[in-house]
């Protein structure tokens, strides 16, 4: 008997995100007449519980075998709705999504063509839905161990949490000692704790933990495999060790902005000009410049941050408070000093930070609004040239010591690490999280998580927050013991395959191999991520990607052949009003 599809279509208002520019009722009405559609509804939030209940009820009552939701990007909610239909027994691959938000309502104005485009997108999704095939999702076992790359404050915390939960952790640190940038600091803000007191107990715990393997002066050289079953190679001296792990936490940290890139500030030219990082070293001993105690000290904010001229448009988040801490320290240690801080916008946003900023000013530090333009020499002092933007006057402030509050930048080898782990980078150059709000510690690569400043500038509490969140999220597959493997993967029609190997050359997941006996290519279903590169490379058209087959895609395109006003076919389905 021929397959007669029974499709349910659901148009989401997304509050006013879609409904403000798309006539959602008209789209629902239109969709009801599409071939194969038996029910078409609109609702304020399809992703909400009542929205999902609508779908589930219809599947049960109307015996639906295909579901189309027209709402946001599938990146956002495809997993949600797949789970919804699966709950009532429908194969999740019989679900299809039309993106009428990012690709329609958000980018077009309130007009008839916007609604018509939404209709086209729905028509196209329904056409594909009818062609969809159920696919079987499979489970793969998880190696119950973790790799943490980087032994700074975030890597240490991630490693400890995972190990304390009972899983074995390998932590790889490039340098001979642990602690990263934090170990270079003298005191922390706003509590003025010694960093040694903060760090040493943690390092002790880490080194003595029975479930932690510490590899120092070591580097990750190769990462293969997938979530649950990564094969990692770590080089330590001449020796390369293979480490099988289930999950990876990336905690590779940051670099301090190189102040030489602002030549007008004279870093590296004038011994009186140092950075906040240099100051931490200086503060560990006596504060002396050119062999004597500085009387006039100037701090300069935002060096290499919020500065498009050096390609760093972002705020580095910590420099305001770092200079506040250091300015107060100068006032305490050198009571006769005159300390001026030049700032652009004061950002004391962290817990306790505004109080601390108050105490710094009350200690006699002078805050002047304006970002200095240049530093020049005058006699045995340097002169900071700026405009005091509150008085509107250009000023020249003499100084014996100038401290440049340098920001954070991505590590120079971020590209190399990104290549190893196939991680994306955001526009600021740091690693990109899977979603800025909803998935802040995940990456687009399943099983790889981000902790600390490799994802963007952070202070110590924020770094530890993220490190512990990354550890907790990374433990989900470790604790479940199994991961679901993507079902929408490449498949090979062996009659057409000549075994030319061109597909294997383009596959970044090493998922394709020549069968030694049959002389055709085979797909490793666990390694394949369904990216489709092989299908486009195949000269004989032997490869198709399940869930994105040629027939399914052509069906989607064919119905779009008329780009004018969508034609409304004869009524078929019943349109039901849904009370909101």
């Amino acid at each position: 008997m021929a397959f007669i599809p029974r499709v349910g279509v659901y148009i989401c208002h997304c509050g006013i995100n879609i409904a403000a520019t798309v006539d959602v009722k008209a789209v629902a009405e239109f969709a009801a007449h599409l071939p194969g559609v038996v029910v078409s509804r609109d609702y304020t939030y399809m992703c909400s519980d009542p929205g999902q209940a609508l779908i589930k009820d219809d599947i049960a009552e109307l015996n639906l075998d295909r579901v189309v939701v027209a709402s946001c990007s599938p990146l956002m909610h495809e997993p949600t709705f797949r789970a919804t239909v699966a709950e009532v027994g429908m194969n999740p691959y019989c679900f299809e999504m039309a993106n009428i938000r990012e690709q329609c309502s958000w980018v077009h104005g309130d007009s008839t063509p916007t609604t018509q485009k939404a209709m086209h997108l729905v028509t196209s999704a329904v056409a594909k839905a009818i062609m969809l095939q159920p696919l079987q999702q499979r489970q793969a076992p998880v190696t119950p161990t973790a790799l943490v790359i980087g032994g700074g404050i975030s890597g240490i915390h991630s490693a400890l949490d995972i190990a304390n939960a009972g899983f074995h952790v390998t932590i790889v640190e490039r340098y001979p000692s642990l602690g990263g940038h934090v170990s270079q600091l003298h005191q922390t803000f706003p509590t003025l704790e010694s960093t040694a007191d903060l760090l040493n107990p943690l390092i002790d715990q880490l080194t003595n933990h029975p479930l932690i393997t510490l590899m120092i002066e070591a580097e990750v050289t190769e990462v293969a495999g997938y979530v649950g079953n990564f094969e990692v190679k770590v080089r330590q001296g001449d020796k390369t060790t293979e480490v099988p792990v289930g999950v990876i936490v990336v905690a590779t940290g940051f670099e301090v902005f190189d102040a030489h890139l602002k030549p007008e500030l004279g870093y590296g030219v004038y011994p009186e000009v140092i950075t906040t990082a240099d100051f931490e070293q200086l503060a560990a001993g006596e504060i002396l410049v050119n062999g004597r105690e500085p009387e006039r000290v100037v701090f300069i904010h935002c060096v290499g941050s919020r500065d498009q001229s050096v390609g760093n448009p972002y705020c580095s988040r910590v420099c305001c408070m770092v200079s506040a801490k250091q300015a107060r320290l100068v006032r305490e240690r050198l009571p006769n000093s005159r300390v001026t801080v030049f700032y652009m916008d004061m950002r004391a946003y962290g817990k306790g930070s505004e109080d601390f900023y108050d105490s710094v000013r009350q200690s006699g530090v002078i805050y002047r609004r304006g970002n200095p333009s240049e530093i020049i020499r005058r006699g045995d002092r340097v002169v900071v040239r700026a405009e005091d933007t509150l008085t509107g006057e250009p000023v020249e402030v003499e100084a014996d010591l100038v401290v440049l509050a340098v920001g954070m930048v991505p590590r120079a080898d971020t590209d190399v690490v990104a290549g190893l782990l196939k991680l994306a980078r955001s526009s600021d150059g740091f690693f990109m999280e899977a979603h800025p709000k909803l998935r802040p510690v995940d990456t687009a690569m399943a099983g790889i998580f981000l902790a600390g400043c490799c994802q963007g500038p952070k202070d110590i509490p924020e770094t530890i927050n993220q490190a512990r969140a990354a550890a907790a999220t990374a433990m989900i597959p470790l604790m479940r013991g199994q991961v679901q493997v993507e079902a929408a993967i490449a498949s090979i029609e062996e009659e057409l395959c000549t075994g030319c190997d061109q597909c294997a050359e383009v596959c970044v997941f090493a998922a394709l191999q020549l069968h030694p006996v049959r002389g055709v290519m085979t797909v490793n279903p666990v390694l394949c991520q369904g990216c489709g590169a092989c299908a486009t490379a195949c000269p004989s058209g032997a490869i198709s990607i399940k869930h994105f087959t040629f027939d399914q895609t052509m069906a989607q395109i064919d119905v779009l052949s008329d780009f004018g006003e969508p034609t409304v076919p004869t009524p078929k389905a019943e349109v039901e009003e849904v009370a909101v």
Binding site: P263, C302, R306, S309, G370, N371, S373, E387, G392, P394
Partner: protein
């Protein structure tokens, strides 16, 4: 009243990007001695509401267009271009200083701002057997107005011709066909005249098959490179050409020049086009020379106050010119020669030496003249 529509203006010049950090004003060499304050100017335009009155903003004519403001801006705002655009509002209404009017009219009529006859433009080269430019000659040497007419700047052009002939470089000049590059016209705010002249000039270069050219002045160089539409002509400043010769050992020096020299970076060469190393490489190649640096060198070089039409305008603070401060800085280094590579710098700095009665301490020379003396 000289009312402008400040909101559309602020949008056009992307002033909304400004975060009021004050780096432009803090680095501005004129802010410290006049009312010029680029940040406040931007703030006023942003907050003016329906319109802004430019009346009494005489300080707009103080700007030397040195470019420090935008080179320091963290948000890629360009206060210098903003000021040029505001000047154009004055020009459109004909409300400009008589000197500006004269310079603009002369540029239009005679092809130079100096009110000198067009026919005499090539006179400086009469005895030098320089080729006229024609198709097939490798380089066009664009001489520029001051080196064509000003007796002191002419020495630079003559020196440069001798150096290049000595090194066997194939170049030609336009002679009386050479027309002002219009850089100063643009910076005085006469944008219409600039466009017209740029078109005419490009027509000439196309007709003569010019594909590569170099200039005496960084101002001409900058305007060809950055203000003219992309036209396929490769433009260099002469110090780049000389640095190339030095690099390939194609300059043969026969005598030593045993003097201590410091180098003043012209704004339009250094700050605005990043050419810091080539002039120094040429200076260092001269046998016997001792090159010392001033504190304010390279990106921090102090403007001589000769750009942006200031060759013809006193400005609102005629007292101490920046060039005088610069001469004192040069003397402090112990240098006997202050070298530069810009006719405007050469003239303003030399005048400052005279005003300070410092002729016995410091001599201002162009790099081309120094090279020429050691050949």
């Amino acid at each position: 009243m000289l009312q402008i529509e400040s909101q559309p203006f602020a949008l056009e010049y992307d002033l909304f990007a400004c975060i009021q950090c004050g780096k432009c004003t803090g680095g501005c060499p004129m802010a410290i001695k006049t009312k010029l304050n680029p940040r406040v100017l931007i703030y006023r335009l942003l907050t003016a509401g329906n319109g802004y009155d430019l009346e009494k903003h005489e300080e707009l004519w103080d700007c030397t267009t040195c470019g420090t403001c935008f080179s320091r801006c963290p948000k890629e705002v360009n206060p210098m271009e903003t000021i040029i655009a505001l000047r154009s509002e004055f020009v459109e209404k004909g409300r400009v200083h008589q000197n500006v009017k004269t310079a603009l009219e002369s540029t239009y009529r005679h092809g130079n701002p100096l009110t000198l006859p067009r026919e005499d433009r090539g006179a400086w080269a009469k005895d030098l057997s320089v080729k006229p430019m024609f198709d097939g000659v490798e380089y066009l040497y664009f001489v520029g107005c001051s080196p064509s007419y000003d007796p002191q700047a002419q020495k630079v052009a003559r020196a440069l011709v001798r150096i290049l002939q000595h090194a066997g470089v194939d170049f030609g000049i336009l002679g009386k066909e050479e027309n002002c590059c219009a850089s100063e016209v643009r910076r005085l705010g006469e944008l219409g005249l600039f466009e017209m002249m740029a078109e005419d000039n490009q027509e000439t270069y196309k007709r003569l098959g010019v594909s590569k050219m170099f200039t005496t002045s960084p101002h001409c160089f900058n305007t060809f490179k950055n203000d003219y539409p992309k036209n396929g002509v490769e433009v260099q400043h002469y110090t780049q050409v000389l640095a190339h010769l030095v690099e390939n050992d194609e300059l043969e020096f026969t005598s030593k020049f045993e003097k201590t020299v410091t180098y003043h970076d012209p704004c339009y060469l250094g700050k605005q086009n990043g050419i810091f190393d080539e002039p120094r490489a040429v200076l260092k190649s001269i046998p016997g020379i001792k090159l010392v640096e001033m504190d304010r060198s390279r990106e921090k070089s102090l403007c001589c106050e000769g750009g942006g039409g200031r060759m013809w305008l006193e400005g609102t603070n005629p007292g101490v010119r920046l060039a005088q401060t610069r001469i004192k800085e040069a003397i402090e280094t112990g240098a006997e020669i202050l070298a530069t590579a810009c006719p405007f710098c050469l003239l303003t700095l030399d005048e400052a030496v005279k005003l300070l009665n410092a002729e016995d301490k410091l001599q201002v020379m162009d790099i081309a003249e120094l090279v020429d003396q050691a050949l």
